[in-house]
Symmetry: C2
Subunit: 199 residues, 2 copies
Amino acid sequence: MPAKTANLVTVKHRVSTDQRVAANKHQSGVLWFTGLPGSGKSTLAIEVEQKLFEMGWQVYVLDGDNVRQGLSADLGFSPEDRTENIRRIGEMAALFADAGFLVITAFISPYRADRDLARKASGERFHEIHIAADVEVCEDRDPKGHYARARAGEIKEFTGVSAPYEPPAEPEFTVDTASQSVDESVSSLMTYIEKTFSS
Amino acid sequence: MPAKTANLVTVKHRVSTDQRVAANKHQSGVLWFTGLPGSGKSTLAIEVEQKLFEMGWQVYVLDGDNVRQGLSADLGFSPEDRTENIRRIGEMAALFADAGFLVITAFISPYRADRDLARKASGERFHEIHIAADVEVCEDRDPKGHYARARAGEIKEFTGVSAPYEPPAEPEFTVDTASQSVDESVSSLMTYIEKTFSS
């Protein structure tokens, strides 16, 4: 076998996550936000991303805005499609964490079994964060008018109205957005993140 | 509307890719490697990743090892499944580039139309790199023994043997791995990357 050919089968060494963590000077992981529509998931994710970026962290938000029209453009909102959507996001988030990122996912992710599958994809790096507010509070806010449209029957299978939400049984952290302001919620999240992901 | 509620609908500001590029001190983008089985895609991707990481770059390789058992675990190797596999990788790579990474994808990606779709997902950040070697050369190397098994009919729809490969018409860069050693190929890639993605 000539040398040029032999080279192609030498053992490959990927850059490890530990090496990336050392270079980035913070732990990597998945902050999996889950909660009802209007609970504040996306708002808090983007606020926290901004703060961590300013601290020099490698941080990225996956949410409906950048996933639903791309990776999951072929999926709707039936239970099967929601499950597949969350499965893909769980796998993608695991790769972002493997690449050294602290990735924040902001999806309703209403089914416990789906979130458990996402946890499995990332293992110990997975942190389930319950963005908690009662459906009454969320419906009262209704920032996008979706609850009103769901009540009118214009949106089908809307979580909290015509589709179920299964709250986490043992989340790593809970943010009470019903009684706390956005600033207070961001602050409590930042404390949790700095405590957990600083290296 | 009370202040706490109003806060939730304030305009959100994502961290932009430009901000990430400025912080990382290199451009982000997708290096889309395409070529026959055995052409050297994965080997070169991992070698280049190592070198760029040592230079302090945010770089990550997506290949069969980390995608086929996760994000695309539900897909096989039929033309339809290959197309869907490449579509998902194209969308995921676009998000990695959006997040500031130089991401290297190492997949056969045999169909021109599929690669064009991946290009569309990333726009100007997409660089198609042809890892070019004749099927005779690749089959002679056969690092995993797949060509032999394909010839024996043990692997169906194997690119280069029983499934087509459509070479890129206008790749941004071509690496001739038939006549160059691995070191020479890595070197030519590094020159291209530093020229194109340094900031």
